[in-house]
């Protein structure tokens, strides 16, 4: 059982000044599964991702493939196979889509640097190339991210994380700002990645998307984990409904 756990957090707590942004959150992601993390706006979803990837100071522990990574800086966590996307994408706007991916897929080596300086035309890195193909971005590989549509930019963000060769892919609100058709397309692409054997933690506030595509779901509210389970269990959970619609007072 344990070897199937890719990511595990134990009592992760984040404090901003007087505000408790995350309180004792323990979640896990299993290999080959699409795990969902949902919660209303401001519930602490992004804070959780930041804590897992090392961008905010947190107490508690984070394990990746059974090894504790709580003390590592962000880029070392990325090297270990923990890659993420950002809510506002944060693409590198000055370089091509291909280069965006290669920043994540290639390592900086002295020999490679010299080859770049003196060797003429470059060959696209294998992993970057694969990520471009999987997400159907080959046609725009040499374009700059800002020339692309919103949906394509989202995909570039996912592709960049994929190119990093992840053990676990953390997706922060990939559907935000997408229209209905683009969301449906994204959902099927995510399922496609799972079929290829990837493990994904999908963070979103869009209930319908998460309920539709995830195998397991964690729900947080006010920085605390309030429910975990399958989509069916979550759908029927009165605490979750309350969190989403306010008090369920008048009708149950």
């Amino acid at each position: 059982m344990t070897e199937s756990v890719v990511l595990e957090t134990r009592e992760l707590t984040v404090q901003f000044g007087g505000l408790l942004a995350l309180c004792d959150v323990s979640i896990d992601c299993h290999r080959g599964q699409l795990t969902g993390l949902i919660g209303p706006n401001g519930a602490g979803k992004t804070t959780l991702i930041d804590a897992v990837t090392g961008f905010v100071r947190a107490t508690g522990q984070v394990f990746l493939e059974g090894e504790e990574i709580s003390a590592l800086p962000p880029h070392r966590r990325a090297h270990r196979g923990l890659t993420r996307t950002w809510q506002s994408m944060e693409l590198f706007d000055d370089i091509s889509v291909r280069a965006n991916l290669e920043v994540a897929s290639r390592r900086l080596t002295f020999a490679g640097g010299l080859r770049d300086f003196f060797g003429g035309r470059r060959v696209v890195d294998e992993r970057a190339r694969w990520a471009l193909e999987v997400l159907d971005l080959m046609d725009v590989a040499e374009r700059k991210p800002r020339e692309l549509s919103q949906g394509q930019r989202k995909l570039v963000g996912v592709a960049r994380a994929l190119a990093g060769g992840p053990n676990l892919l953390l997706l922060d609100e990939p559907a935000a700002g997408l229209d209905q058709t683009a969301t449906v397309r994204l959902a099927s692409q995510l399922r496609g990645l799972i079929d290829l054997g990837h493990t994904i933690l999908l963070v979103d506030h869009d209930m319908s998307l998460v309920l539709r595509v995830c195998e397991r779901i964690h729900v947080i509210e006010f920085g605390r984990l309030i429910a975990s389970g399958t989509p069916e269990e979550i759908r029927a959970d009165s605490v979750v409904i309350r969190a989403y619609l306010g008090s369920s007072g008048s009708r149950a």
Binding site: D94, V103, A104, L108, G113, R160
Partner: protein
């Protein structure tokens, strides 16, 4: 110690002005000292000659050699003290208003770099106006404050020092009260936190910023007028006091008036204390500790505070200019290099010199392209790093007798070493903060190294020399006779060497931009967090960039040394460092072609020579350059290079040339 009160009061007042402007508009007003200087000159000319100078030029048509226009208004032979003060203060207030309306309001959403460059541009414009208008020689100004000697703590000090101190204390107290208790002050503090929310409450953040600009400039003007009777009036004195004032403001986190004022006064006192100790105590090192004080204090402040300046909650910000990869083919590049070599041989001597100066300038700008254009870190120390190499090559070749090539390489290596040290703060801080720290490093390098004798300093005579360069028995100094062309100096040999070094530097930076390392640098520039999440070690990238940039600056510095033959610290001083950023930004800070454009704009560079031939524009070079910078910043925030690109694209469209085909991937 009491003797330092006067200087301390000035630094404190300028520091308060810096804090005031930063809190209300997020601009670090490097020009605050220059505003004080200009107001003082206005006052002095009203008092001594009864004339009010009409800014900005002695004669606006002088550039084209046209007829003279009235350049000042006369009020009899002299204006009385009170109206003269009033008019000078009104001038300072007007400068503040114009700066807000014409420069900094349009730049509200500009990146930090744009604002810093604009503030430096304003400083350069004001300073060149002062030089053109009033000349460089010092003036004496009649005292305004009482100068009766007062005995205090065992020293005799004129009373005006205490009046100044009192004035600064009162101003600080008033500002503190205003910001604490009035609705205006509270709203200004609120706007610094979140502009949009203040607007929702019915405040105009714009109006607030304008008011504070006027206040800060009037305060600076007042200090200028009151202080020059003590210090004497020179174009540089007050302008450069902005550096310790920046230190004081930084200590106060650019938000506390009280700490900034206290630190300013403290600076003055410690300064005079150090002077006295150096005179009395034989064992005290005779360092220019006094001048390096700002650096030491800023370094301490950084360690103590260790956090970035509070960033303003502005609505949105624009990005740095695009860093295009060069589209030029290698063949075209070789042709271009050959053309420039030909120019360096066959052009008349003054053009030959202009080309050399411009190319060395271009290498300097390339160093900023790497560190600022590619990685987004603002460095105001590149000229100081060039100076390290310049003084280094003098020591290595002239004094130690090493061969030229080895000396050149060692000088560049030394510059890289210092560059890495200067880069260390960039690991913890960025933006405006880093700019101030690198500026302080430049000050420290200038006073602790260049102006003292030593490996990276002057020789006993206050200068340094380097012999004509020689590689494998081939001499190519600026005055070594070259087989082709006329006999005037500079001879083409050295020019050709400079062309080749510049070409190599251009190739390196172009290759860097295209390489994977360059892509990682641009990733860091776009977003440090996202880059780290993609596995980029941000620290390594920053240090690498600073190292490469320092190497480029070092190469330029060594070339400059050879070109000058004999040189003094003035060629590599803080003002030169600061101007370098301005010129580089004007040309285009993110591209190789931008650096070349910027190089041509250097003083005594190519454009100076061209315009000198046809107009008497040369004297106005700095002034026009500063103005051009401000206009460019406001209209084309990306710099001239981006503008040329736009024009080029428009022309292309008109000629209906097909777009170049997209790059095709090789299948592995």
């Amino acid at each position: 110690m009491i003797l330092g009160i006067g200087a301390g009061a000035i630094i404190a007042a300028l520091g308060i002005g810096l804090v005031l402007t930063y809190r209300s508009s997020g601009v670090i007003n490097f020009a605050v000292g220059a505003v004080a200087t200009y107001s003082a000159y206005v006052y002095s000319s009203l008092r001594t000659a009864g004339t009010y100078p009409i800014p900005p030029l002695p004669n606006p048509l002088a550039i084209a050699g046209g007829p003279s226009l009235p350049t000042s208004v006369r009020f009899g032979s002299s204006v009385a003290e009170t109206p003269a003060i009033a008019m000078a203060l009104a001038t300072a207030a007007l400068i503040g208003l114009l700066l807000h309306l014409l420069v900094f309001r349009p730049l509200r959403y500009a990146p930090v770099l744009g604002k810093i460059v604009a503030a430096i541009g304003v400083m350069i414009v004001l300073q060149s106006v002062v030089l053109l208008r009033f000349g460089a020689q010092a003036r004496q100004v009649e005292a305004i404050l009482p100068t009766t000697p007062v005995r205090a703590f065992g020293a005799t000090v004129p009373a005006d020092r205490f009046v100044l101190l009192g004035l600064v204390s009162v101003t600080t107290a008033v500002l503190w009260l205003v910001f604490k208790y009035t609705r205006f002050g509270i709203a200004t503090r609120a706007a610094a936190e979140n502009e949009r929310s203040v607007t929702l409450l019915g405040f105009s953040a714009d109006w607030q910023a304008g008011t504070n600009w006027v206040l800060a400039c009037t305060l600076a003007g007042l200090v200028g007028i009151l202080v020059v009777p003590i210090t004497g009036l020179t174009p540089n004195l007050l302008t450069l006091l902005v550096i310790p004032a920046l230190g004081a403001a930084l200590l106060g986190g650019f938000s506390s008036f009280v700490i900034a004022a206290g630190a300013g006064v403290g600076f003055g006192m410690v300064e005079s204390l150090l002077l006295i100790m150096q005179q009395r105590l034989a064992w005290m090192p005779k360092l220019d500790l006094v001048d390096a004080l700002p650096f030491i204090v800023i370094a301490l402040a950084m360690i103590m505070r260790g956090r970035a300046l509070p960033s303003r909650g502005a609505v949105q910000t624009r990005n740095l200019p695009d860093a295009y990869a060069s589209g030029m083919s290698f063949r075209a590049f070789i042709v271009l290099v050959l053309c420039v070599v030909a120019a360096a041989i066959f052009l008349p001597f003054d053009f030959r010199n202009g080309v050399t100066v411009s190319l060395i300038g271009a290498i300097l700008c390339l160093s900023l392209v790497v560190v600022t254009g590619f990685v987004g870190q603002i460095s105001l120390a590149q000229m100081a790093l060039a100076g390290i190499a310049a003084f280094g090559i003098g020591s290595f070749v002239q004094n130690a007798g090493l061969p030229f090539a080895l000396g050149f390489v060692l000088a560049v290596v030394a510059a890289v070493g210092f560059g890495l040290v200067v880069a260390l703060p960039s690991l913890r801080t960025r933006g405006a903060n880093l700019a101030i720290i690198t500026l302080a490093s430049a000050v420290a390098i200038q006073y602790l190294l260049f102006e003292r004798t030593g490996w990276f300093g002057v020789s006993a005579l206050g200068r340094k020399s380097v012999p004509p360069p020689e590689i494998l028995g081939l001499y190519f100094g600026p005055s070594t006779r070259f087989p082709i062309g006329d006999s005037k100096i500079p001879q083409p040999g050295f020019g050709i060497f400079v062309v080749l070094v510049t070409a190599a530097c251009c190739l390196v930076v172009t290759a860097l931009r295209r390489s994977h390392l360059g892509e990682r640098m641009l990733a860091v520039r776009a977003n440090e967090h996202a880059a780290a999440a993609a596995g980029v070690n941000v620290r390594v990238i920053k240090l690498t960039a600073f190292g490469i940039a320092a190497g480029l600056a070092g190469a330029a510095g060594a070339l400059r040394a050879v070109q000058l033959g004999t040189y003094s610290p003035g060629s590599f001083d803080v003002l030169a460092s600061v101007s370098l950023l301005v010129v580089a930004y004007l040309g285009g800070i993110s591209t190789v072609s931008g650096a070349l454009v910027a190089g041509s704009l250097f003083t005594q560079g190519f454009w100076t020579v061209v315009t000198d031939r046809f107009t008497n524009f040369g004297t106005y070079q700095t002034y026009v350059l500063g103005l051009a910078l401000l206009v460019t910043l406001v209209t084309v925030p990306e710099g001239l290079d981006a503008y040329h690109r736009e024009v080029g694209r428009a022309l292309k469209r008109r000629w209906r040339r097909p777009e170049p085909p997209a790059v095709v991937h090789e299948k592995p």
